[in-house]
C-alpha cells in the first residue's frame, strides 16, 4: 500500500506536495491535472500513482491552460477536480482563469500554485497571489504540512459552497519540505458526472457555463467573495500565537510562519512578539484583522516576494484608522525585509533585532574568524549539465556550427535543463543569450529572423525540449513558417520531461496513469507545418555538425533539427554506462600537448577531471555516464572507449 493511502489517524511523513495530494483525496477529488514544474510536480505524480485504486482521472496536460480547462470540465459536471502548476503556470492558465472565475464552477475546483521564492528552480520569482485579487477568487496558504492537507481538503468544500474556483498557494519550502501529517478519512462514495445546461443563464447550478451577461455575472461573482470573507472570519486556519497585547504583531502566512516562530524562539521574544498566522489571505477577514491590529501599534508583515499581504493589510488598516488608530508598519515597503528572494529564520530574526533593538547571540569570535578563513578556501560549485547529458553534446555541436558558419549566429533559449546554457554561459559554450518563458525562444527567434531589413542579419537558432515543444512552441513555430522566418529550430529531445522528473508528455506512448496513449511525433508535426526536418543523435558529433552547418547556410526557410538522445538520468539509462571511458595516460600529453586542456577547460563534463600532479586528464569512474562524447574531442585520441 502506498503511503498516500495510509488509513485515517495514521501519522505519516509527507512531502508538502504529498500532503496536498492527500488532502485532495480526502476531499474526494475525481479529476486532477497539471503540467510538470518545480516545485509542483509531486502533487500530480503521487495522485497518478493511486489513480486506479481511487478511481481517479489524472492527466499530465499539454500545458497549464489546458490542465485548468480539463479540470474545469469535471467541475462543470459536478465532480471535484484540481489543476496543479508552478507559479508561472498560472500566467499560462490565466486567460481561461479570468473567464472561469466569471462563469463560476460547480463541483469543487481547486487551482494549486506552487511557487518558488528565490527562484531555486525557476527563471522567475513570479507571484501568483495577485491573481486572486485581480480575478476575485479566494486564496489559501498552508503554513505547515498538516495544514497543507487540511486546507486542501477544505478548499474543495469552499469552492463548492461558493460555486467558484479556489486557489491554494504553496512555496518551495512547503511543497518540497516534509513533515508529519495525521491522515483523515478517505471517502468511500464517488460522484457521477452530470452536466446540466438547460436552465436560465443566471442559474449557476443548471444554466450554461458562460461569463455573460458580464456585468450581472460579475456582481454575482463579487457577492460570492463577500460570503468567503465572512467564512474566513471564523476559519481555524487563521490563528494567533503570543501575548494578548504584544509589543510587535507579526502578520504572516505560508512557510514564513515557521520562520517567524523560529526567529522569535532564537531571540527569546515570545513575550514581546505575537504572530497572527493567516491561512486565508484573500479576501482578508476584516474583523479578525481589526481585533488584532487594535492590540498594538507596531506591525511587521512577513512574506516572500511581493508585498501582497502588506498592501492588503495596509488598505484595511487605512479604512479602520478611526477605530484602531495609527500604526507603524514594517515590511517590504520600509525595507525592514528584503523585497526579493526567499526568507529564512535568520532574515526574520534580523528584522526583529532591528525593530525591537535587541541583539542576537553570536558564536565566539575566534570560531567566526576560523570559519571565515575556511570559507575562503571553498570553490563555488556551479550547476552544470550532468555527466552524459545529451545537452552538453548538443550545445557543443551548436557552438561549433555557429563558429564555422562565421556569421555570429545565436540561440534563443527556452525552459528546461538546457536553460543552464543561458544561466551559466560557459555551460552552453556562450551560444544562448536569451531565456524567457516556455516556448518563447521560438517566438523570439521568429522575431529576430525578421530584422534583416533593419540590419540584423545573422543566423537565428532556437532550442526547446520535447515537452516544451508541445507546451507552447507549436504556435510560435507555425508563426515562423507562415511569416517566412528563416530560423534553425532545434528540438533537444531527451525522451521525457527530464528536469522535473521524467513525467510523460504527448510525444510518449504512455500517460500519467501508465496507460498506453498515442504518441505525437515531433518530426511529423514539423513536416506537416512545411519545415525542412532532420533527425540526428547529438552524440554523433560529425553527422550532427554537418546537418547544422548546412542548415545555417541554407537561407530563407524554417529548418528543424531533432536531436534525439535520452537523458542520462532517465530510468532506462540511469546507472548504466554505454561505454567504459578511460584516459590512456601514455597518449595524453598533458600540458605538453597543444590542446590546452580542451577536454576539461572547455568541454566541462563533471566526470572528466584533471589530475594536477600527473598533469593528465582523468575520468572519474563514479561520475562518468559513459556517453563517449569526450572520446570524439580529444585531438590526441587519448580518451578511449573500452
Amino acid at each position: 500500500m502506498t503511503k498516500l493511502l495510509s488509513p485515517a489517524k495514521s501519522k505519516v511523513l509527507f512531502l508538502g506536495n504529498e500532503a496536498i495530494a492527500r488532502g485532495a483525496l480526502e476531499a474526494g477529488v475525481a479529476v486532477a491535472t497539471g503540467y510538470p514544474g518545480t516545485p509542483s510536480s509531486e502533487v500530480i505524480e503521487s495522485l497518478a500513482h493511486v489513480a486506479s485504486e481511487r478511481n481517479l482521472y489524472v492527466e499530465w496536460s499539454v500545458n497549464e491552460k489546458v490542465a485548468l480547462e480539463v479540470a474545469a470540465a469535471a467541475s462543470f459536471a459536478g465532480l471535484r477536480s484540481m489543476a496543479v502548476m508552478k507559479q508561472n503556470g498560472v500566467n499560462v492558465a490565466s486567460d481561461f482563469l479570468l473567464h472561469l472565475t466569471a462563469s463560476g464552477t460547480r463541483g469543487g475546483l481547486v487551482l494549486v500554485s506552487c511557487e518558488d521564492p528565490g527562484a531555486l528552480s525557476s527563471v522567475n520569482e513570479g507571484e501568483s497571489r495577485y491573481f486572486a485579487r485581480m480575478l476575485e477568487m479566494p486564496l489559501l496558504e498552508p503554513s505547515d504540512f498538516q495544514e497543507a492537507k487540511d486546507l486542501t481538503k477544505w478548499a474543495f468544500e469552499l469552492s463548492e459552497q461558493i460555486g467558484n474556483v479556489v486557489m491554494l498557494r504553496s512555496v518551495t519550502r512547503m511543497s518540497h519540505a516534509s513533515g508529519n501529517v495525521i491522515c483523515g478519512k478517505l471517502p468511500v462514495k464517488s460522484r457521477k458526472a452530470h452536466f446540466e445546461y438547460n436552465g436560465s443563464v443566471m442559474d449557476s447550478s443548471r444554466g450554461p457555463m458562460i461569463s455573460t451577461p458580464v456585468v450581472a455575472k460579475h456582481l454575482l461573482h463579487q457577492q460570492k467573495l463577500k460570503v468567503v470573507e465572512a467564512l474566513f472570519e471564523k476559519s481555524p486556519f487563521n490563528r494567533y500565537v503570543g501575548a494578548a497585547k504584544p509589543e510587535l504583531l507579526i502578520i504572516t502566512s505560508s512557510a514564513c510562519f515557521l520562520y517567524a516562530e523560529e526567529a522569535i524562539e532564537l531571540l527569546g521574544l515570545q513575550k514581546r512578539v505575537g504572530i497572527l498566522k493567516l491561512g486565508t489571505t484573500w479576501p482578508l477577514p476584516p474583523k479578525l484583522l481589526e481585533k488584532h491590529l487594535r492590540q498594538t501599534t507596531k506591525i511587521l508583515i512577513v512574506e516572500e516576494v511581493m508585498p501582497f499581504l502588506e498592501e492588503n493589510v495596509k488598505v484595511l488598516a487605512a479604512g479602520l484608522v478611526n477605530r484602531i488608530g495609527a500604526k507603524t508598519f514594517f515590511g517590504k515597503y520600509d525595507e525592514t525585509l528584503p523585497s526579493v528572494g526567499e526568507l529564512n529564520p535568520d532574515i526574520v530574526a534580523a528584522a526583529l533585532c532591528y525593530i525591537l533593538k535587541v541583539k542576537s547571540k553570536t558564536l565566539p569570535a575566534n570560531y567566526l574568524s576560523d570559519s571565515r578563513k575556511a570559507a575562503a578556501l571553498i570553490p563555488a560549485r556551479e550547476q552544470t549539465f550532468c555527466a552524459g547529458c545529451p545537452h552538453r553534446a548538443s550545445f557543443w555541436n551548436i557552438h561549433n556550427a555557429i563558429a564555422l558558419d562565421g556569421h555570429k549566429g545565436f540561440v534563443c533559449g527556452d525552459i528546461g535543463c538546457y536553460s543552464m546554457a543561458a544561466l551559466s554561459p560557459a555551460t552552453g559554450y556562450h551560444t544562448m543569450p536569451t531565456l524567457h518563458s516556455m516556448g518563447s525562444g521560438t517566438g523570439l527567434a521568429s522575431g529576430f529572423a525578421k530584422l534583416a531589413q533593419f540590419g540584423l542579419d545573422k543566423p537565428i537558432l532556437t532550442v526547446c525540449g520535447d515537452s516544451t515543444f508541445y507546451h507552447a512552441v507549436i504556435p510560435a513555430l507555425i508563426n515562423a513558417q507562415h511569416n517566412r522566418a528563416d530560423i534553425t529550430f532545434i528540438v533537444l529531445d531527451n525522451a521525457g520531461t527530464a528536469m522535473t522528473g521524467f513525467q510523460p508528455h504527448p510525444g510518449l506512448a504512455i500517460s500519467a496513469m501508465k496507460e498506453v496513449v498515442p504518441a505525437l511525433d515531433i518530426a511529423a508535426i514539423c513536416s506537416a507545418i512545411g519545415a525542412k526536418v532532420a533527425v540526428s543523435d547529438p552524440f554523433d558529433l560529425e553527422t550532427t555538425g554537418k546537418i547544422l552547418t548546412s542548415f545555417l547556410a541554407d537561407k530563407g526557410s524554417l529548418k528543424v533539427l531533432i536531436l534525439r538522445q535520452a537523458c542520462a538520468l532517465s530510468p532506462e539509462k540511469k546507472g548504466k554506462k554505454i561505454f567504459e571511458v578511460k584516459v590512456n595516460e601514455s597518449l595524453c600529453l598533458g600540458d605538453a600537448c597543444g590542446c590546452n586542456r580542451l577536454c576539461t577547460r572547455i568541454f566541462r563534463c563533471p566526470a572528466l577531471t584533471w589530475d594536477r600532479t600527473k598533469n593528465k586528464a582523468v575520468v572519474d569512474e563514479v561520475i562518468c555516464a559513459g556517453c563517449g562524447v569526450c572520446v570524439s574531442i580529444c585531438p590526441q585520441k587519448a580518451i578511449i572507449k573500452l
Binding site: 557552438h399 561549433n400 563558429a403 564555422l404 558558419d405 559554450y429 597543444g594 590542446c595 590546452n596
Partner: protein, 376 residues
C-alpha cells in the same frame, strides 16, 4: 596576472579581424582551436596560451625576412622583386600525357614524380578540390596519383594544415606544393625552431606556385549563381592570356566571366600580399605567359630555382628525362620582375589605404629594404 594576450587573441586581432588571413592553414591542425571551414579560418574555442605556434607561423604576423633569407638562401642571389634566383628557365613535363592533364606545362607534377622516384620525398601535399570548390590539402603517397591534382583552382587551400596534420606521422619526408603565403608559413616553421621541434625536418621540398590572387569561396559561389553554374559542375578554370576573362569549363560549356566581376570576388587578404612568385620555396613555378608571343608559350611553365636543394631536384628531373627546360631570355625575367614589382607596389598602396598611415604597414615592417623600395 595575465598581462600577455594569448596568441589566439593576437591572431584574431592582428590577422583575422584585419581581413589579412590568407587561409593557408598554418595555424590549423596544431591544436583543436583553429579549424578551416570552407576557405575561412575559424577559432572554435578560446585558448589562453601565449607563445603559440599559430601566431608564430602565420604568414601575416610580423616576420624577420632577413633571417629566413640567411637560413634558406644565398644572400647574394636575392632580388627585391622576386626573392632568391639561382636559376630561371622555361620548362615543361616531357610526358605529353601529363601535360594534357596539367594547367600549363605539368612542371610541378614532373618535379614531384622525380622527387618521389628518387626517394627525396616519400609523400607530397597538394591541394584538392571538393564539389563546392572548397580546397583541402591532401597527402599523396602514390606517384601515380600526383597528376590527378594538377590543375589550378583559384581558391585557397589550407595546405599547411595538411602538413601540420601529417607531421610526425608515417608520411616520411614530405614535399609540399605551396602558394606564396603557404611557402612563407612553411619557411617560418623551418626557421623558427620553436621548442626544438624536430618534426619540421620532415619537410624536405617546397615547390611554390606563382599566385596573383585567390577567390573567396562565398563570393565566388554567388558569382557562379549569377551565371547559373553549380559549383560541382565546374571541371576547370583558366585565365587565357590577353582576353581579360576567367573561363569556366563545365562538361557542357565554356563560360567567360569578365575579370571586373572576378576581381570583386578576390579574397580581401590577397590585396595585401606582396609576393607573387612564392619567394620562400625551393623552386617556384608559374605559367609562362609573361612577355614574348603568348600563344607560343602556352603549354610551358616558367621556373625559378631558389635553393640549392631546388636546383638538385630540377637537375635530376632533367637528367631523368622527366622535365624539358629552356634557358629563358633575359627579357622574360625582366618582365616577370616588373609584374612582381607592380604587385608589391599595389599591395603596399592597399595596405596604407587600410591602415591610413605609411608608418603602420600591418604585418610588414616599414624598415624592411624591400618594403621601403616599393612603398611610394
Amino acid at each position: 596576472m595575465k598581462n600577455k594576450p594569448s596568441s589566439q587573441t593576437k591572431l584574431k586581432k592582428d590577422v583575422l579581424e584585419q581581413s589579412l588571413c590568407t587561409g593557408c592553414g598554418a595555424c590549423v591542425g596544431l591544436c583543436p582551436y583553429q579549424v578551416v571551414y570552407r576557405d575561412r579560418t575559424v577559432q572554435l574555442h578560446n585558448c589562453d596560451l601565449t607563445d603559440g605556434k599559430c601566431y608564430a607561423f602565420c604568414p601575416r604576423t610580423p616576420t624577420d625576412y632577413r633571417k629566413i633569407w640567411e637560413i634558406l638562401f644565398e644572400i647574394d642571389e636575392m632580388t627585391p622583386e622576386i626573392g632568391a634566383v639561382k636559376g630561371y628557365y622555361l620548362s615543361r613535363a616531357a610526358d605529353p600525357a601529363l601535360r594534357a592533364k596539367a594547367q600549363h606545362g605539368g612542371t610541378v607534377t614532373a618535379l614531384l614524380e622525380v622527387a618521389m622516384d628518387e626517394g627525396l620525398i616519400d609523400s607530397a601535399i597538394v591541394s584538392s578540390r571538393n564539389e563546392e570548390i572548397e580546397q583541402e590539402g591532401r597527402l599523396v603517397e602514390a606517384k601515380s596519383q600526383l597528376g590527378d591534382y594538377a590543375k589550378s583552382k583559384f581558391t585557397v587551400s589550407p595546405t599547411v594544415a595538411a602538413f601540420n596534420r601529417v607531421m610526425g606521422d608515417t608520411a616520411g619526408k614530405v614535399g609540399v606544393v605551396a602558394t606564396p603565403c603557404q611557402a612563407l608559413a612553411l619557411a617560418k616553421m623551418k626557421t623558427a625552431r620553436i621548442n626544438d621541434d624536430l618534426k619540421i625536418n620532415q619537410l624536405n621540398l617546397v615547390i611554390g606556385l606563382f599566385c596573383g590572387w585567390t577567390l573567396s569561396v562565398e563570393s565566388f559561389h554567388r558569382l557562379l549563381q549569377q551565371y547559373q553554374i553549380s559549383p560541382e559542375a565546374v571541371t576547370g578554370m583558366d585565365i587565357p592570356a590577353g582576353k581579360n576573362v576567367l573561363e569556366l569549363y563545365t562538361n557542357a560549356s565554356v563560360t567567360s566571366v569578365p575579370m571586373v566581376e572576378v576581381d570583386a570576388c578576390v579574397r580581401t587578404a590577397c590585396r595585401y600580399c606582396i609576393d607573387s612568385t612564392a619567394e620562400f620555396a625551393d623552386l617556384s613555378v608559374g605559367a609562362a605567359r609573361f612577355g614574348g608571343d603568348c600563344d607560343e608559350m602556352r603549354g610551358w611553365n616558367q621556373i625559378i630555382v631558389r635553393s640549392e636543394f631546388g636546383k638538385q631536384v630540377m637537375e635530376l628531373a632533367v637528367a631523368r628525362g622527366a622535365l624539358e627546360i629552356w634557358e629563358a631570355p633575359a627579357s622574360a625575367l625582366q618582365d616577370l620582375k616588373n609584374v612582381a614589382a607592380e604587385k608589391k607596389r599595389k599591395a603596399l598602396k592597399n595596405i596604407v589605404e587600410k591602415s591610413r598611415s605609411v608608418k603602420n604597414l600591418l604585418y610588414l615592417n616599414s624598415d624592411d629594404p624591400v618594403v621601403k623600395k616599393y612603398l611610394k
